[in-house]
Symmetry: C2
Subunit: 390 residues, 2 copies
């Protein structure tokens, strides 16, 4: 691959990734050269080894490890898959490639013929059959070498967008996020490579829905209120989560998340805040424990005598805007009640209202009260009065 066309940041990152891969897998090679049984010790990515770290406020991987030995019949295949994948990733780094996890699946997929003892019969076995197998191996490698796949220049599709008074350096370019016209900046798959140059903003508003992002952007919301406006366009991908985390951690910006008022929206917030339940090893880098849920809350819709709060909607608006919750929404809400980070008084109140009213609401119901309502009343008022859920 001609190097004139790739960014200097990528070249540097490759060097670092190659070094770590060599050092970690070099130990295994050394075990073999010294006649010892090669063994990998990798932290378990099981649900049982997923811990909610109350102090850090994130889901993280626990301390239980598994040993994967090459000379154990039950572990040999996984061991070989891991080494195969590591060698493929190593090659892509050397060759200046940018694989995706789908690529890596295809690259490693082939059939191995060998003689099975004691019968010496020739048998065929695939390195892996489905992508979930190779994906699992990639995750093991991420945990084993303590690097995220993005640092190995493994790319993925990306939905997150951003605009605001901020300049960043990405690749070898300087990008002014306040000069995107009616469009937006699509966040790169490797947001750790972004350099924050300068910024003039008071907080970050993360919006679940791209269409609402478009409306607020177009109406100049971020200019008027000095906001960095981000959309995850649905369930957030890794890059959007990492980008938001860095805005909070490195620039100290408060993060407010605005989603539909339903358990799906709550879960989006939860992924931003504490991380994904099934992929807890990522959270230490991707979760933003200080994120606040700005809304739309059940209390915004119905008000709350308990909290002395009036609703933002009239009775007539509720009649027209509310959507009846489905069984799967109810089920989801009950699941969320089991997560310790939803076991706060305020969240319990929220979920109780949902379960008693069996009602959900989309953000668009608020913009239909007038974009001015969302932009000049609802959002600024809630932020000013601290009316969010932690």
């Amino acid at each position: 691959m001609a190097l004139t066309y790739v960014s200097s940041k990528d070249l540097k990152a490759r060097g670092r990734a190659l070094e770590i891969l060599r050092s970690k897998f070099g130990e295994i090679a050394k075990q073999i050269l010294e006649g010892r049984t090669p063994i990998m010790v990798i932290k378990k990515r099981t649900l049982a080894n997923t811990i909610f770290d109350r102090e850090k406020g994130i889901l993280r991987i626990g301390d239980e490890s598994l040993r994967r030995s090459f000379l154990n019949a039950g572990e040999a295949k996984k061991f070989m898959q891991t080494v195969l994948m590591a060698s493929i990733i190593y090659d892509t780094l050397v060759n200046n490639e940018y694989p995706t996890i789908r690529d890596l699946y295809y690259r490693g997929k082939h059939t191995i013929r060998y003689r099975k003892l004691p019968s010496k019969k020739v048998v065929e076995e695939n390195t892996w059959d489905e992508q979930k197998e190779s994906d699992s191996v990639i995750r093991d490698i991420e945990v084993f070498i303590d690097m995220l796949r993005e640092e190995l220049l493994i790319l993925s599709k990306e939905k997150g967008k951003v605009v605001g008074n901020m300049r960043i350096r990405s690749g070898d370019d300087m990008i002014d996020l306040s000069k995107m016209g009616h469009g937006a900046y699509a966040i790169e798959p490797t947001p750790d490579f972004i350099e924050f140059v300068d910024i003039d903003a008071e907080y970050v508003l993360v919006i679940e829905k791209d269409a609402v992002f478009q409306q607020l952007h177009r109406a100049g919301f971020w200019k008027k209120y000095k906001v960095i406006l981000v959309t995850s366009a649905g369930q957030p991908d890794r890059a959007t989560r990492r980008f938001v985390r860095r805005l909070n951690e490195e620039l100290g910006l408060p993060i407010y998340v605005l989603t539909d008022a339903d358990p799906y929206g709550w879960y989006i917030y939860s992924v931003f805040k504490v991380g994904s339940i099934t992929l807890s090893y990522e959270s230490e880098r991707l979760a933003t424990p200080k994120s606040k849920f700005l809304g739309v809350s059940m209390v915004d819709i119905f008000g709350s005598k308990k909290l002395g709060k009036k609703p933002y909607l009239t009775e007539a608006e509720r009649k027209n805007f509310i959507i009846k919750a489905k069984d799967k929404d109810i089920k989801r809400a009950k699941e969320l009640m089991n997560y310790s980070w939803f076991r706060t008084k305020r969240w319990e109140h929220e979920i109780e209202i949902f379960l008693s009213k069996k009602a959900k609401l989309e953000i668009e119901a608020l913009t239909s009260k007038g974009l001015r309502f969302l932009m000049d009343k609802y959002i600024p008022e809630k932020i000013e009065t601290g009316d969010w859920i932690d």
Copy 2:
């Protein structure tokens, strides 16, 4: 809405949209003032009134019209829905808002109480119950006033991205699409407002998959081969289609579409080329009849004795990369065979190979042969030798 924060382009567009709405719906008001029965004449958006215009190479709406009279019991509700929606859109234009079609649904949704003759019993009826009703009304208005909703400042979520040697003006900003770092420019929902400033490119490559777009972008493909790189991130939205059309029509750039080798990929190409079957009224503005299908073709996978072409894949690669077609893929392929724009010798050959092999392939299978293969052999070679399907 404070006007200091919105672009001058939007303000101008609002003026024009208001004028057209006033003129078209003013005629209806005039009918009423003159004591005549108000009637709207709107072209039918039925499948039967959808024509494949061979000369233009696009699907378009035919000449059949429907009359919608206010004083006809069967037409009155639709008539009132149309006028209601037009008045809501009018208000959003006056108030400098940027509604989405979901917004408009909520804004118009309410219950009307009236006395039903002859019994004079009070009955309740909703303006509309589901969004598909209000969406249909919006489409009627687009056809009636011969404007796309984007010109009425109705926004939508947007997935399309672009990078390349090109500068555009969007809103009041100048944007250099060659200076997006590792990220990309997310195309605005109203691409007609974009001004093309200057460009240095030989063709446009439209890629179905965002992840493959990321890879080629990152490896500098568009720099090396002077390409405008666009991704639709799956089924293309209206803005991406309109943007691509403008690149072809106004700048004369050839458009090559790269999708997975399966009926779903073919249909994505078809939407770019001739338009969407159910929304033919859009095609005159959104379709790009000169688009070429670059690949991945069945001939690329299996070769073709008939065409004297060797495959790009070896037997071993086919074994590892090919995915077995599902029943719904087969069904889809047979449907496509009925569309007149797929009834060419080359397409028939393509679909025949698919139906006989019952095999599909993802673009990622090619990148797994090395990104260099996709970037420096497959794409440039096919373009140089004219190895595409029209």
